[in-house]
C-alpha cells in the first residue's frame, strides 16, 4: 500500500508540474529557475497596479506602455 501511495504521490507531482508552470524539480538548472523568477516578477508587476505605476513614473513612460513592455518580457 505504501509503495503504491508513493507511486501515486510521484505521479501526482509530475501532474502538478504539468499544471503549474514555475514549479521545479531536482534537475532544474540555474537558468530555468532564473527564467521562472523573471517571468513571475514581471507578471507580478503587471498585476499590482501600485508597483506598475511606480515603475512607470521611474522610467518616465506611460502606464500602458510600461505594462506592454513588461508583457513582452514575460513572453520571452
Amino acid at each position: 500500500m505504501q509503495a503504491s501511495d508513493r507511486f501515486n504521490i510521484n505521479s501526482q507531482l509530475e501532474h502538478l508540474q504539468a499544471k503549474y508552470v514555475g514549479t521545479g524539480h531536482a534537475d532544474m538548472n540555474r537558468f530555468e529557475w532564473a527564467v521562472n523568477i523573471q517571468r513571475d516578477s514581471y507578471a507580478s508587476y503587471i498585476g499590482h497596479y501600485p508597483l506598475l505605476s511606480y515603475f512607470a513614473i521611474a522610467e518616465n513612460e506611460s502606464i500602458g506602455r510600461q505594462r506592454y513592455t513588461f508583457m513582452q518580457c514575460v513572453d520571452i
Binding site: M1, D5, L13, T23, G24, Q38, D40, S44, F55, A58
Partner: protein
C-alpha cells in the same frame, strides 16, 4: 416426518388437479396431430422459484455436493425464514450473476478476442500472420454482418412462403399448376433451406447453413486461425451418414430434458482458448479433475473453490520449480499471486497485490492479461472478487503503459459490462479503468480497437461500446474524438453505426455534464441530420441525445440548438409512439434554455400535443409528458390563467389516479410536476382539487396526496387556504395519519407537521382534538402507532407554543414522563424526542414534570444499548445541561459523566458528537476539574475510538471553560513515561489548538517546551503528532504576533523533512505549510534556498518538493523574496526594476 410427506403429497396432487383444470387457459394447447405428440411425463412438474436454484442445477453439479449438507429442499422451504436471510443462499447471492437480469447476462456470450496487432510497437515491419490486424477484424465483422443479413432474409422469405402456401388452396387448377411449378422452383432452393431449417432446429441459431458463401471471403490470409463457431459446428446428418456404415447401430434420441450448452463461457471443462492450438492434443494428467475430496493447494496458498480448478489447476501439480522453463515459472508465479489476491486473507492479498504491481513490467503484459482476463469471464464470480481483479488490472495498467496496446480489446470485453452494472461503484470502477486504459494506450489504439464493435450485430456490444467511447472522450478530450464521431454519425453504410455514434454523443453529454458547453455546437451539428433519418431508431436516439445535450448545457447554449428547433417541431406533429416521446423529451429540455418570449410561444405550440398525449397508456410516454409539462410550466412566459383553464382539468383527470401512485418513478414525477404547477397557479387551486383524496381507500395514493400537499404548503405557505378548505384539510390529514399502516419515509408525519406549522395560529381550535388523538394513540397496543404518536408531538410542539397552549403541552409532558418505562426501543426513542421538543419550547423553569425529577429518571436510560434511544437521551440530557443545569445537583452530573464515557464508544457518529457536546455543557455547569480528571483517565485506555473521542471532549471543555483550566493537567500527563499516553496527550494538544483557534495565542509559549521535547523524540509517531500540533497552532495564531515562538518551533520541525514514512512526511509538509501562512513565505523560502541546488540529489528532491508547495501556495509573495542572482556572461539574471528608486 411422515405427516410432512403426506402433506407434501396431498398438496402436490391438489396442485396437479388445479393445473389440469386450468390447462386450457394456462398451458400450451396445440393440436397434437399437427405438431406431433410429445411425452408430457418428461416435463418438470415444478420449476424452482428462485434464480440461483436454477443456475445451481444447470451449472454446478459438483460444487453442490461439496459444501455442507442441508436438508431436502421441500423441508427447507417449510421452515419459516423470517429473520435469516437465505442462509443456504448467502454464498451464492454474492455472485454477480445472481443479481443480473437477462440483458446483463449477455456479457457471458462474449469471448476474449485473439491477440491483436500493435502497429506502434511493430513499427514498419509487416505484422506477424498469427496476430490479427485491423483490416482483418473489419473484414470478419463484415462477414458476420452479411451472414446475419442472409439468415434474416431467408427466414423472412420462408415466412412469406408459408403465408402464401396457406392462401394458395382455394386457387384454380391452372393456378395450382403454376403454384406447383412455383413450389417446385421454390423447393429446389428450398431444399437447401429445409436443410438449413432442419439444421437450425438441431443446432443453435448462429451456426450458418452452407450457403453459397463466396469463396473469396473465406480466403483469409491466416490459415491456422478459425472461428470457434466453425470449429464447433455440429456435423449434419448427411455428413454423419456418409461417415458411418448404414447398419449395425441405432441412433438414439437425446433425453427430453437435455439442453446443449450454448454459451462458451459456461462450460466447466477447459475450453480451447483462442491462444491454444486448435489441433487436438493428448490430454495431460489433470489434477484438477473433480473428485469428491476438495484439493488442497500446496505451499500455504489460499483455499481453491471448485470453480477455480479450471484456472488454477496447474498449481495443484506438485512439480519441482527448477524443472519448469522460465516462462512456465513466470506463469506459476502469476497464478499464485492471482490466487492470493482473489481468495486470500487481507494481508496475503496486500502483499500479492504489491508484488504484482512491482513486477508488472517484468512479467510482461501478455502473461499477465492472459491469466487475469479469463478469470473475469468466470460466470461464478463474486462482487468482491471482481472488484479485486479490476483493482489488479488498474495497478498493472498503470505500470505497463503502452505495452497494453495489443490487449486493449480484450480488456474492454471484460470491463465494458461493468459500465452497465447496477452497482454504482462498479460503474465508477469501470469508467476509471477505461479512462486509464485510454491514457495508457492512446487515442489511435482505442479507436482501432473499438471501431469494429460500433456496428456489431449484437446490440449488447453496441450499447457497451457507446458507453466506453464516451469514457474515452471524457479522458482524452472531445476535440480529439470529434472527427471520428462525425464520420461515424454520418455513416452511409449502416444505420447501426449511425445509431451507435449518436448514442455515443448522448452518453458523453450524460457523463461530462456541463463540460460539454465548449463543444456543444459541434456536437449538435454532427447529430442533427439524425432527426430526419429514414430509420426510426436513429430518429429516436437523436432526439434523446439532443435532450441529454440540452440537459447538460442548461441554462446556456440555446444558440447551438437553433438548427434543430424546426425539425423537432415538425416532428412532433408527424410522429407517434416512442419517436414522439423522444421528440417531446428533447423539446422539454430545450424550452428552459430559451428566452421568455420564445419559450411561451413554443410552449403553446407543444402544449396541444401534450394535452392530447395525457391519455396515452404508455408508461414511458406518461413519464416524459409529465416531465415536459413541468419544464414548460416553469418557463417565464407561461401565464397562470392559461394553465388554469387549459391544462389543469385534463391534468388532474388523467394523472391523479390511483395507478400512478403505485410506480415509484411516476409517483415522484407526478408530485414534482404538481408542485411546479402550484408554484405558478397557487395553493388553493391545487390543494382544493386533491384534498378530498386524503380520505381515499388506497394508501399509496393517500401518501402521494399528502406529500404533494406538504411540498406545496412548504413552498407557498397557507395564506391561500380559506376556512372551508382549512377544515377539509385538517380533517383529511388527521384521517390519513390515523389510517396509515406503514410510514417508512415519514411522509404522513412530515405532511402533518408542514401543514400545521404553516397554518400557525389558525390551528388553535383543532389542537385539543389533535392532542386527544395523540393521547389515545399513545395507549395503543401496536408499537408502530405509539411511535408515530410520539413523533407527531415533536413536530407540532412549536406550533402549540405559538398558540399559547402551554398547559396542554405540560399535560403531554407528564403523560410522556409516565411512558419512560417503555420496552420497545424505537418507541422509547420517539418518546424521548418528544420530551426534548417540549422542553425546548416550554423552557426549563415551566416544565412539567420539573427538571429535578426528570433528569434522574433519564440517567439510567443512558445505559440502553439501542442507538435511537441513546441518541435521543443524550440530546435531551445535553439540552438540560445546557439550559437548566442548576436544577440538578453536581453529584448527579458527575454520575452522568461516567455514563457518557461509555457512549463515546457508540457506532453512530451523531451519538458521539452529542456526547462530546454534553461534556462541554457539564463542564460549564460544574466546573472543568472533575470532568477533566475523568477524561484524562480515559486517555490511558487502550481503545482507539475512546481515546479519539476523549481528545475531542477535552478540546471542547477547553473551549467552554478556557484553556488554562485544561492545559496544566493535560501537560502534566505527558510526564508519564508511556508511549501511548504521551501520544494521546500530543493528539489532544493538536486537536485542542485546532479547535480553539485564535484563543491559542496566549498559550503557545506555555506548550512550546513540550513540543520541543516531542519533536526531538526518537519515536516517529511523537514527531508526527507534534508536527500536526505545530501546524494547527500556526494556523490558529497567524497574524497575532507569535512569530518568535513559531520560528523556534520551525527550527525543530525542519530536520524531519528527510523522513520517508508517508504519514510523517505528510505531517511535516503540512506543518511547513502552516508556517508559510503564519510567518510569511519569505521566511520559509530562506530555509529552502539552502538545499535547492545541493550537490546530493536526495537533498535536492526534498527541498524542491518543499519549494513547489511553497510556490503553489504563495507565488506572488515570493517575488519580493527571491535572492538576487549574479549575472552570467550573456544572461542577465538581476531584476533591475526592483532597484529603481524615486
Amino acid at each position: 416426518m411422515s405427516s410432512n410427506d403426506d402433506e407434501i403429497r396431498k398438496t402436490q396432487e391438489e396442485r396437479k388437479k388445479m393445473e389440469q383444470e386450468l390447462a386450457s387457459l394456462t398451458a400450451l394447447t396445440f393440436d397434437t396431430d399437427l405438431y406431433g405428440a410429445s411425452d408430457r411425463s418428461s416435463y418438470l412438474t415444478s420449476i424452482p422459484a428462485s434464480e440461483d436454484a436454477e443456475n445451481l442445477e444447470a451449472d454446478n453439479e459438483f460444487s453442490r455436493r461439496l459444501p455442507s449438507y442441508t436438508g431436502p429442499r421441500s423441508i427447507m422451504k417449510e421452515i419459516p425464514s423470517a429473520e435469516i436471510e437465505g442462509d443456504s443462499g448467502l454464498p451464492q447471492s454474492r455472485r454477480i450473476i445472481d443479481r443480473e437480469d437477462d440483458y446483463r447476462r449477455r456479457r457471458l456470450n462474449q469471448i476474449l478476442s485473439p491477440d491483436r496487432n500493435d502497429p506502434f510497437a511493430a513499427g514498419e515491419k509487416t505484422p506477424d500472420p498469427s496476430v490479427r490486424t485491423y483490416a482483418e477484424i473489419m473484414r470478419d465483422e463484415a462477414l458476420k454482418r452479411e451472414r446475419e443479413e442472409t439468415l434474416r432474409a431467408i427466414s423472412k422469405k420462408k415466412k412469406e412462403e408459408e403465408e402464401n402456401a396457406k392462401a394458395a388452396p382455394e386457387k384454380s387448377q391452372s393456378q395450382s399448376q403454376q403454384l406447383n411449378q412455383n413450389q417446385k422452383r421454390r423447393n429446389r432452393w428450398d431444399q437447401s433451406q429445409d436443410e438449413g431449417g432442419a439444421k437450425k432446429a438441431k443446432t443453435s441459431d448462429w451456426d450458418a447453413p452452407e450457403l453459397t458463401t463466396p469463396g473469396r471471403w473465406d480466403a483469409t490470409p491466416t490459415p491456422g486461425r478459425r472461428d470457434i463457431e466453425e470449429r464447433n459446428r455440429p456435423l449434419t446428418d448427411e455428413e454423419l451418414d456418409a461417415m458411418f456404415p448404414q447398419e449395425g447401430y441405432k441412433v438414439l434420441d437425446p433425453p427430453a430434458s437435455y439442453v446443449p450448452i450454448r454459451t462458451p463461457a459456461r462450460k466447466l471443462l477447459a475450453t480451447p482458448t483462442p491462444l491454444g492450438t486448435p489441433l487436438y492434443q493428448i490430454p495431460e494428467e489433470n489434477r484438477g479433475q473433480q473428485y469428491d475430496v476438495p484439493k488442497e493447494a500446496p505451499g500455504g496458498l489460499p483455499f481453491m473453490k471448485p470453480e477455480d480448478y479450471q484456472y488454477f489447476g496447474a498449481l495443484l501439480n506438485e512439480e519441482n520449480e527448477e524443472e519448469l522453463s522460465p516462462d512456465e515459472q513466470k506463469e506459476r508465479k502469476i497464478m499464485k499471486l492471482l490466487l492470493k489476491v482473489k481468495n486470500g486473507t487481507p494481508p496475503q492479498r496486500k502483499t500479492a497485490l504489491r508484488q504484482l504491481t512491482d513486477k508488472a513490467r517484468e512479467f510482461g503484459a501478455g502473461p499477465l492479461f492472459n491469466r487475469i482476463l479469463p478469470l473475469l469471464m468466470q460466470p461464478t464470480l463474486e462482487d468482491q472478487e471482481r472488484h479485486l481483479l479490476v483493482k489488479v488490472i488498474d495497478r498493472v495498467l498503470y505500470k505497463l503503459d503502452e505495452l497494453v496496446r495489443p490487449y486493449v480489446h480484450k480488456i474492454l470485453v471484460v470491463i465494458e459490462p461493468l459500465l452497465i452494472d447496477e452497482d454504482y461503484y462498479a460503474r465508477v470502477e469501470g469508467r476509471e479503468i477505461i479512462s486509464n486504459l485510454s491514457k495508457a494506450a492512446g487515442l489511435a489504439t482505442m479507436i482501432a480497437a473499438m471501431r469494429p464493435d460500433i456496428d456489431n450485430i449484437d446490440e449488447y456490444v453496441r450499447n457497451t461500446t457507446a458507453r466506453a467511447f464516451s469514457v474515452v472522450a471524457s479522458a482524452l478530450g472531445i476535440p480529439a474524438l470529434l472527427p471520428f464521431l462525425k464520420a461515424v454519425c454520418q455513416s452511409k453504410k449502416s444505420w447501426q453505426a449511425r445509431h451507435t455514434g449518436i448514442k455515443i454523443v448522448q452518453q458523453i453529454a450524460i457523463l461530462i455534464g456541463c463540460a460539454v458547453l465548449p463543444h456543444l455546437r459541434s456536437l449538435v451539428e454532427i447529430i442533427e441530420h439524425g432527426l430526419n433519418d429514414e430509420n426510426q431508431k436513429v430518429r429516436t436516439i437523436t432526439a434523446l441525445s439532443l435532450a441529454a445535450l440540452a440537459e447538460a448545457a442548461a441554462p446556456y447554449g440555446i444558440e447551438s440548438f437553433d438548427s434543430v428547433l424546426k425539425p423537432l417541431w415538425k416532428g412532433i406533429r408527424q410522429h407517434r409512439g416512442k419517436v414522439l416521446a423522444a421528440f417531446l423529451k428533447a423539446i422539454g429540455f430545450i424550452i428552459p434554455l430559451m428566452e421568455a418570449l420564445y419559450a411561451s410561444y413554443y410552449t403553446k405550440e407543444v402544449m396541444l400535443i401534450l394535452i392530447r398525449e395525457f391519455q396515452s397508456p404508455d408508461e414511458e410516454m406518461k413519464k416524459i409528458v409529465l416531465k415536459v409539462v413541468k419544464q414548460c410550466v416553469s418557463t417565464e412566459g407561461v401565464e397562470a390563467e392559461y394553465i388554469r383553464t387549459d391544462i389543469l382539468p385534463e391534468f388532474f383527470r388523467n394523472f391523479w389516479v390511483r395507478r400512478m401512485a403505485l410506480d415509484r418513478r411516476n409517483y415522484k414525477q407526478l408530485v414534482e410536476t404538481t408542485v411546479e404547477i402550484a408554484n405558478k397557479v397557487g395553493v388553493a387551486d391545487i390543494v382544493g382539487r386533491i384534498v378530498e383524496d386524503l380520505k381515499d381507500e388506497s394508501e399509496p395514493y393517500r401518501r402521494m396526496v399528502m406529500e404533494t400537499i406538504e411540498k406545496v404548503v412548504t413552498n407557498l405557505g397557507s395564506s391561500d387556504i380559506d376556512a372551508r378548505l382549512e377544515e377539509l384539510l385538517i380533517d383529511g390529514i388527521l384521517y390519513a395519519f390515523q389510517e396509515q399502516t406503514s410510514d417508512d419515509a415519514n411522509v404522513m408525519l412530515n405532511g402533518f407537521g408542514a401543514v400545521v406549522n404553516s397554518l400557525g395560529q389558525r390551528v388553535k381550535p383543532y389542537l385539543p382534538q389533535i392532542c386527544g388523538t395523540i393521547k389515545w394513540r399513545l395507549n395503543n397496543k401496536s408499537a408502530k402507532v405509539r411511535q408515530q404518536a410520539a413523533d407527531l408531538i415533536s413536530r407540532i410542539a412549536v406550533v402549540m407554543k405559538q398558540c399559547h397552549e402551554e398547559q396542554l403541552m405540560g399535560h403531554l409532558g407528564v403523560v410522556l414522563y409516565e411512558y419512560l418505562g417503555e420496552e420497545y426501543p424505537e418507541v422509547l426513542g420517539s418518546i424521548l424526542g418528544a420530551l426534548k421538543s417540549i422542553v425546548n419550547v416550554i423552557g426549563m423553569t415551566k416544565m412539567t414534570p420539573p427538571i429535578k425529577d426528570l433528569l434522574p429518571r433519564l440517567t439510567p436510560i443512558l445505559k440502553n444499548r439501542h442507538e435511537k434511544v441513546q441518541e435521543n437521551c443524550i440530546d435531551l440530557v445535553g439540552r438540560i445541561a445546557d439550559r437548566g443545569a442548576e436544577f440538578v445537583p453536581a453529584r448527579e452530573w458527575m454520575r452522568i459523566c461516567f455514563e457518557l464515557l461509555e457512549m463515546l464508544k457508540a457506532h453512530k457518529k451523531g451519538i458521539r458528537r452529542a456526547t462530546v457536546n454534553t461534556f462541554g455543557y457539564i463542564a460549564k455547569a460544574i466546573g472543568p476539574q472533575d470532568v477533566l480528571a475523568t477524561l484524562l483517565n480515559n486517555l490511558k485506555v487502550q481503545e482507539r475510538q475512546n481515546r479519539v473521542c476523549t481528545t475531542v471532549a477535552i478540546a471542547i471543555v477547553a473551549e467552554t471553560c478556557s484553556p488554562f483550566t485544561v492545559l496544566p493537567a493535560l501537560m502534566n500527563e505527558y510526564r508519564v513515561p508511556e508511549l501511548n499516553v504521551q501520544n494521546g496527550v500530543l493528539k489532544s494538544l493538536s486537536f485542542l489548538f485546532e479547535y480553539i483557534g485564535e484563543m491559542g495565542k496566549d498559550y503557545i509559549y506555555a506548550v512550546t517546551p513540550l513540543l520541543e521535547d516531542a519533536l526531538m523524540d526518537r519515536d516517529l509517531v511523537h514527531r508526527q503528532t507534534a508536527a500536526s500540533a505545530v501546524k494547527h497552532m500556526a494556523l490558529g495564531v497567524a497574524g497575532l504576533g507569535c512569530e518568535d515562538a513559531l520560528v523556534h518551533l520551525l527550527n525543530y520541525v525542519w530536520p524531519n523533512i528527510f523522513e520517508t514514512s508517508p504519514h510523517v512526511i505528510n505531517a511535516v509538509m503540512e506543518a511547513i505549510e502552516g508556517m508559510r501562512v503564519a510567518l510569511g513565505s519569505a521566511v520559509v523560502l530562506n530555509y529552502c534556498l539552502q538545499g535547492l541546488f545541493h550537490p546530493a540529489r536526495k537533498v535536492r528532491e526534498v527541498y524542491w518538493k518543499i519549494y513547489n508547495s511553497l510556490y503553489i501556495g504563495a507565488q506572488d509573495a515570493l517575488v519580493a523574496a527571491y535572492p538576487s542572482l549574479e549575472d552570467e556572461h550573456n544572461n542577465v539574471y538581476s531584476r533591475s526594476e526592483l532597484m529603481m528608486f524615486i
